[in-house]
């Protein structure tokens, strides 16, 4: 049997390793002060490592972005929308030397708490259950429930290890409005509730992908053809999920709905008879001076089996990806607990969550994910396939930033702050002669010598249009959320395959362009009804026509119109015989439909 293969010495080493990891884990949970100087040290670390790589690759960075460009960027990336004209003015009115730090502090602080939480709730929801999770009619996943949990966790500024542990170990009812059960509602269960089929194959694959940056999907059937992951690792990781199951029932109040529960149950193992109560004799033997039940281990053992490509069947017990067997981790407590399926012996998911947050893959995977959120590319491509087979572009930076994140007590806002205040994030997106070859679309590793232009996400577009135009100010939060969900749904298609595959047409293709040109949202944003955004700008007697045009450009693009643009707008205004509001409507439509608006640059 695989688990028996460890020699005594190796077992001791593993135990030692676990002890060390445990010590370090404890230390990491004490947050550092997060003082300005400790933040500055990490920012300098980023700048230094990135600069070294520029030199090594004979690259010169683009000049810095203008402060207005940077401001637009940081609003979009931190709170999910463009800045208003007032916010832009306030930022540009600040002291040049300090205004960037101050803005970041404000965007991460209480003033913008709601926008920040909404933005990151949407991002995490899409990461954890996809854009289509919970959208099908009889789905057990509650998108609202997932959002509830994340909103509450992010509002409380839960450290990332806590958030992860809560997601991985959650039990309870999935639907927030489930009043028909004793099981307590716990929105966090929505991450796993529809990933438990076939013994939790998707739970295993998605957990590894999201929290460890490991693509193991293929290894359920065979050793990976070109990375180091082995088939046994998949099933040994999968074994951690076997005490967990999804239970469902018909909603007594709604024929079209099923209610879901994620529960832990004693697990007897696969494909064999239980000894348990069938034993007529119990053999005791002396071990280390104590009498123990000789067959206890076999009684509680809960193995699983998987098939190799050649048809041979192998057994698996919970073993973490680094080879740490749960049996060894729990050996101090009781030699039979590690492979046991009884909850009174071990809660396998709890153990998994602990092993995950203690592993270095955990912090590096998050740094990689966060970096790619802000800079457009991670240190590996794709971000969820890390490992020796796919070396990162900046290994030292990834590693040290990961350690800094761990030492901060897994404080997500610190990690965000470091990245947005770094030099690579501050650069212009203009390509120069000296960094033309730094183009990740050409298949080379990104060097971040300029800011790579990327398209807004659908959520960012939605919020930006609404913020710029205050189009839904009068609506309550629930209505607002429902409208947004409905609008977002139009772009996503689920393939209906077992891996939850899906696609989006919000990808710069014709359907997206049609939506921008003629869709309801832009129509609303371009409304000239009394009290609307355009109506207010048009009828603001403090502004000249020229200033009104400037206002629109700044609201959408965070820049002033060029002379040529002003001239053309004035020509249009003249030809309309002074129909200011109508002309502004056309200008606004054009600005919103432009490449410059939809691209984060």
């Amino acid at each position: 049997m695989i688990r028996m293969a460890h020699s005594r010495g190796l077992t001791w080493l593993l135990a030692m390793f676990c002890w060390l990891a445990h010590e370090r884990g404890l230390k990491a949970t004490e947050p550092t002060s997060g003082s300005d100087s400790s933040h500055e040290a990490v920012v300098s670390l980023i700048d230094e490592k990135i600069r070294t790589a520029w030199n090594d690759n004979d690259l010169r960075p683009s000049p810095p972005a203008t402060d207005a460009e940077w401001c637009r960027r940081v609003y979009l990336d931190l709170i999910g929308r463009v800045p208003t004209v007032a916010e832009l003015d306030e930022f540009l009115g600040g002291k040049p030397r300090y205004r960037k730090q101050e803005l970041v502090t404000r965007l991460l602080g209480s003033e913008y708490q709601d926008a920040f939480v909404e933005h990151w709730t949407a991002i995490w929801t899409n990461t954890l259950i996809g854009r289509t999770g919970g959208q099908q009619r009889r789905s057990l996943t509650s998108r609202t429930g997932m959002g509830d949990y994340l909103r509450q966790a992010l509002s409380a500024a839960k450290p990332y290890d806590v958030l992860t542990t809560e997601l991985l170990t959650a039990t309870g009812a999935a639907q927030p409005d489930n009043n028909s059960s004793e099981d307590k509602y716990n929105g966090a269960v929505n991450f796993l509730i529809e990933k438990m089929e076939e013994g939790g194959i998707q739970a295993t694959a998605k957990t590894a992908e999201i929290f460890l940056g490991m693509a193991v999907q293929c290894t359920q059937c065979h050793n990976h053809p070109f990375n180091e992951y082995r088939q046994n690792q998949f099933w040994e990781m999968n074994a951690f999920f076997r005490q967990t199951r999804t239970e469902r029932e018909q909603d007594p109040n709604n024929d079209n709905r099923r209610l879901g529960y994620l529960v832990n149950r004693d697990y007897a193992g696969e494909g064999r008879m239980l000894y348990r109560d069938a034993r007529s004799e119990i053999f005791l033997e002396e071990r280390n001076g104590q009498l123990v039940d000789r067959d206890a281990q076999q009684v509680s053992e809960a193995p699983i089996y998987y098939e190799l490509r050649n048809g041979q069947v192998e057994v698996a017990y919970p073993v973490f990806i680094d080879g740490t067997a749960l049996e060894d981790v729990l050996a101090d407590r009781n030699s039979e607990f590690g492979n046991s399926g009884y909850l009174e012996h071990v809660d396998r998911r709890q153990e998994l969550a602990r092993l995950i947050v203690e592993s270095r893959e955990f912090d590096r995977a998050m740094v990689n994910r966060m970096w790619s959120h802000f800079l457009g590319y991670g240190f590996t491509k794709p971000i969820h396939d890390m490992g020796p087979h796919n070396p990162p572009s900046h290994p030292e930076l990834l590693d040290e930033l990961g350690m800094a994140f761990r030492d901060s007590g897994f404080d997500l806002k610190s990690l965000m702050r470091w990245i947005v205040l770094s030099e690579p994030y501050s650069l212009s997106s203009r390509v120069t002669k000296k960094n033309r070859q730094d183009d990740p679309t050409l298949g080379v590793a990104p060097q971040f010598s300029r800011f790579y232009v990327r398209q807004m996400q659908a959520e960012q577009l939605y919020e930006s249009l609404l913020t710029a135009t205050q189009a839904d100010e009068t609506l309550g939060a629930d209505r607002r959320d429902a409208m947004r969900q409905r609008w977002l749904q139009q772009f996503s298609t689920a393939f209906g395959t077992d891996d939850g595959g899906e696609a989006s047409t919000f990808n710069g293709s014709i359907p997206q362009t049609l939506m921008m040109m003629n869709g309801d949202l832009v129509r609303r944003a371009c409304s000239t009804d009394s009290g609307s955004f355009l109506d207010q700008v048009a009828n603001n007697w403090d502004l000249s026509n020229r200033e009104k045009i400037q206002y629109l450009y700044r609201a959408a693009l965070s820049r002033m119109p060029s002379k040529e643009e002003i001239n053309v707008c004035n020509t249009l205004l003249a030809s309309r015989k002074g129909d200011v509001v109508g002309t502004l409507q056309d200008i606004w439509w054009a600005v919103l439909n432009s490449n410059e608006f939809i691209l984060i640059h």
């Binding site: 491509k381 209906g496 395959t497 014709i510 003629n518 053309v568 200008i587 691209l599 640059h601």
Partner: protein
């Protein structure tokens, strides 16, 4: 004429005459409008086309095209004879009557048994690679046919009821245009009358051009290109091709009043209009559970639509210029699992192809008695894509230069499956 899908009171001719005349805005002409060459003549397609019937989720080809009655790995359904060489499932009786037009390749062996990877591989002829995104069938054909498509005002790559696979390094201008099987193109109704639309487009042109000039990478210019294609589509009477509901009722009944049926009918209309690549999506084939009952529900729909399409194309003389290809990501296990389902299997499975010069009625390749192994020369996604390119008249010597400057052979450098061409 009722311009159902064109902007309010805006016809292409009208719009163009306005552009030619004095606009309120004396903005230098921008490429957006330059492309809008009036083409009053009705388009008659004089090039080849391809319709891909994509079975998303991967159907069990062992229960459809390469049955193993009597073997422990075979399902409960019976094979029936066809008008071609091989037998197929009794659940496809109408397709059986069209098999003289279609050939079955029973020796596909493709390695990728993960949905995402298999989907990518079968659509592009390349295994996924983190550093380069390869163009899919539709994008390659759209690109290679570009010079023949001057008169086509709607996108050359249409995907019905699903999203197909992307253009990769060829860029968003070659991306699939996704529509639902009712042919409704969302947001195709302009919100203002044409004179104002024209002013707006002039303003927009100015913004686009300025941002492209700032040299911030290819995304800005691609946005402009897609915008141009969108304008072309908005003002085109060719949008009628999507209006599947304007077909006579008898024809609609023939294809079946199902998503897949309407999709196949629309595909025929699009090909008639000159669209060189159409993908019609049929989903829900990931049959890990209850495989055989679900086949009894799902296959009749395929039977009706697919047979109607082949018969209709043949009757209209379109089949000799139109390749029809039916496949999914991979096959399913030649073993029935504990849930009466079949799991993912790429080692030995079948695809079906015909039309466009492909010789129909054949069975190409074979698997062993229980379907677990290919016993003849195995064919890959590269080989299949090369064969389709050959049928489409695209030279297999075509090479793309991916961004990294590396030359990349079309269709992954596969070799043509000779038997398909007699």
């Amino acid at each position: 004429m009722n311009h159902f899908d064109t902007p309010h009171g805006m016809t292409r001719r009208h719009f163009l005459s306005h552009l030619a005349g004095a606009s309120a805005l004396a903005v230098p002409a921008w490429s957006l409008t330059q492309s809008m060459v009036a083409n009053a003549a009705t388009l008659k397609s004089n090039h080849k086309a391809c319709i891909l019937l994509w079975m998303g989720g991967a159907p069990p080809t062992i229960d459809m095209w390469d049955m193993k009655p009597g073997a422990t790995t075979g399902g409960p359904h019976k094979p029936i004879s066809t008008t071609g060489a091989g037998q197929i499932t009794e659940l496809l009786p109408n397709v059986a009557q069209q098999m003289h037009h279609l050939s079955i390749i029973r020796s596909m062996s493709t390695r990728e048994a993960d949905h995402e990877r298999g989907r990518y591989y079968m659509h592009t002829g390349f295994v996924p690679n983190p550093n380069v995104e390869h163009p899919s069938y539709g994008s390659v054909i759209a690109k290679e046919f570009e010079s023949k498509l001057q008169a086509l005002e709607i996108p050359p790559f249409v995907s019905i009821g699903g999203n197909s696979a992307g253009p990769g390094f060829l860029g968003m201008a070659y991306a699939p245009f996704q529509v639902d099987s009712n042919g409704r193109v969302r947001n195709a109704q302009a919100s203002v009358e044409e004179a104002r639309m024209m002013d707006r487009m002039q303003l927009l042109g100015l913004l686009e051009k300025r941002f492209i000039r700032e040299n911030r990478g290819p995304a800005a210019a691609e946005h402009a290109k897609v915008l141009k294609n969108t304008m072309s589509l908005l003002t085109s009477s060719q949008m009628d091709a999507f209006k599947v509901q304007s077909e006579p009722e008898t024809m609609r009944e023939k294809y079946g009043n199902t998503g897949f049926g309407r999709g196949c009918l629309m595909a025929r209309r699009l090909v008639e209009t000159g669209v060189p690549f159409v993908e019609v999506n049929s989903g829900g084939w990931d049959l890990h559970q209850d495989c055989f009952n679900r086949l009894e529900q799902k296959l009749p729909e395929v039977d009706q639509a697919m047979s109607a399409l082949v018969e209709d194309l043949a009757a209209r003389g379109l089949l000799e210029n139109t390749v029809v290809l039916c496949m999914g990501e991979f096959g399913r296990t030649p073993r029935i699992n504990g849930n009466t389902g079949r799991d993912h299997w790429a080692r030995s499975w079948s695809v079906v192809a015909g039309g466009g010069g492909i010789e129909g009625g054949q069975v190409i390749g074979a698997t062993n008695e229980d379907g677990t192994r290919v016993t003849t020369e195995p064919y890959s996604a590269e080989d299949l894509m090369s064969s389709i390119c050959q049928a489409m008249g695209i030279s297999l010597k075509t090479t793309y230069t991916a961004g990294n400057g590396r030359p990349m052979k079309i269709a992954g450098g596969g070799k043509v499956i000779g038997e398909l061409f007699g």
